[in-house]
């Protein structure tokens, strides 16, 4: 089926099988390997991207469902001026260890701060409950999101 999705600001036209998951469209059709596949069961959040501005788990969205929509991946955050404030905050607060969950955490954090620019600690923890980190990095992730909120991300 022919689809057209705007990914990181660029319109992408493609002919995909209806069963193509959005995450595989991003990784394999477009070569955007920043979005990781973790659990593949809507649990871990590693594959989180923004669809029309909101966080979604791209392992549980069909590419055909995103037809006509706008997707932002981790590759779409930084600009020529530098890292996105959430990326910068993750960097400065050492909010990652192995890094596998990080693209998903960053995208979920961007979505959270868009919906709630000044979240409390509890609101951050609940807002990121759909993302798992197995290096036990939650404490520094929390600090990073608080720092990004202060920076006006």
């Amino acid at each position: 089926m022919k689809i057209s999705i705007t990914v990181n600001g660029t319109e992408q036209d493609a002919d995909v099988e209806p069963r193509t998951l959005l995450v595989y469209f991003l990784r394999e059709h477009l070569g955007l390997k920043g979005t990781n596949v973790g659990c593949d069961t809507t649990s871990c959040g590693a594959c989180t991207v923004l669809l029309d501005g909101e966080s979604v788990k791209s392992c549980t969205v069909l590419a055909v469902q995103a037809d006509g929509g706008e997707v932002t991946t981790i590759e779409g955050l930084a600009t020529d001026a530098g890292l996105h404030p959430v990326q910068q905050a993750f960097h400065e607060n050492h909010a990652l260890q192995c890094g596998y969950c990080t693209p998903g955490f960053v995208m979920a954090s961007v979505s959270l701060l868009k919906e709630n620019p000044n979240p409390s600690e509890e609101e951050i923890r609940l807002g990121l409950e759909g993302n798992l980190c197995r290096c036990t990095g939650y404490h520094n992730i929390l600090k990073a999101v608080q720092a990004a909120a202060r920076a006006g991300a």
């Binding site: 089926m1 099988e17 209806p18 069963r19 998951l21 595989y24 593949d40 069961t41 809507t42 649990s43 959040g45 989180t48 669809l51 909101e54 966080s55 979604v56 788990k57 549980t60 969205v61 069909l62 055909v64 469902q65 979920a108 979505s111 959270l112 807002g127 409950e129 759909g130 993302n131």
Partner: protein
């Protein structure tokens, strides 16, 4: 995991969706957050997915006297923040805000959730407890299915193969509690209990205590007869056939149902 191949059609209207559902082995796709996991595990292998995700007319919350109509495509995230629902049926709004996680709530819909008919579903248990009405459209027109008749088995409902759930109607109600025991934050309920006062009666519903969400009728009758919460709650598992699985044995679930029912009755 990749689903088995299927055909895909995007419905532009309710009527077109009904027509498309006339094809054998077709399934409705709304937000996909119950269906896609089944497709990936190949528990479901439909030949055609009828995507109703663009039927924006089915996304609404409307007051109608002492009842509230909810479009079947309303997402959990929409319901969690809806001012009409927060005011008129806060129990459902709060429950919608606790489904899954933010990403799931951005995609999952109330209609998809109940049509999927998981016996452990939070939203389905609340709707059964509230005696909600389910409005369906099919080739023969519109009909309303009471909640007591809607959930017919695990992953089965009273909806016909060519019927589309379009609206859910709930009564306005104040207060109410939904107490859920989970092993981990995002797990399905091991057991959950809903309790609410409605038109002078106490309604009690149970999740994950049988093949469908259940009403704890024996508890309701005991409360109506003047029993104290602890005494009424002793009847919580009567008539239920809870499963035994990794989350807990049938005996443990029966115990949990009694504990949570007592707590819920004490808190409403």
């Amino acid at each position: 995991m990749i689903p088995a191949a299927f055909d895909y059609a995007r419905a532009a209207s309710i009527d077109e969706a009904i027509e498309l559902l006339g094809r054998e082995d077709s399934k409705v796709l709304a937000g996909g957050h119950s269906l896609l996991p089944l497709l990936k595990l190949r528990f479901a292998r439909p030949s055609l997915l009828v995507d109703i995700g663009r039927l924006d007319d089915l996304r609404y919350v409307r007051e109608d006297g002492d009842r509230i109509g909810i479009g079947a495509l309303s997402r959990h995230a929409d319901l969690a923040l809806d001012p009409i629902l927060a005011q008129g049926c806060g129990l459902l709004a709060r429950t919608a805000g606790n489904v899954g996680d933010p990403q799931v709530r951005h995609r999952g819909t109330i209609g998809g959730s109940v049509a999927h008919s998981d016996p452990a579903s939070d939203v389905a248990t609340i709707l059964l407890t509230l005696d909600a009405d389910f409005v369906a459209h099919g080739p023969d027109g519109e009909r309303t299915i009471p909640a007591a008749d809607f959930f017919t088995g695990p992953f089965e409902t009273a909806l016909g193969p060519q019927e589309l759930l379009t609206e859910i109607v709930v009564p306005k109600v104040e207060g109410g509690r939904y107490l859920k025991h989970v092993r981990r934050q995002q797990d399905w309920a091991t057991v959950a209990v809903a309790a609410v006062r409605l038109n002078g009666d106490v309604h009690v519903g149970l999740a994950a205590m049988g093949a469908t969400p259940l009403r704890a009728r024996a508890v309701e009758q005991a409360v109506a007869g003047g029993a104290a919460p602890a005494d009424a709650a002793a009847h919580a598992a009567e008539g239920a056939e809870p499963p035994s699985d990794f989350a807990g044995s049938a005996e443990y679930r029966a115990h949990l149902a009694q504990v949570l029912t007592r707590q819920a009755l004490e808190q409403i």
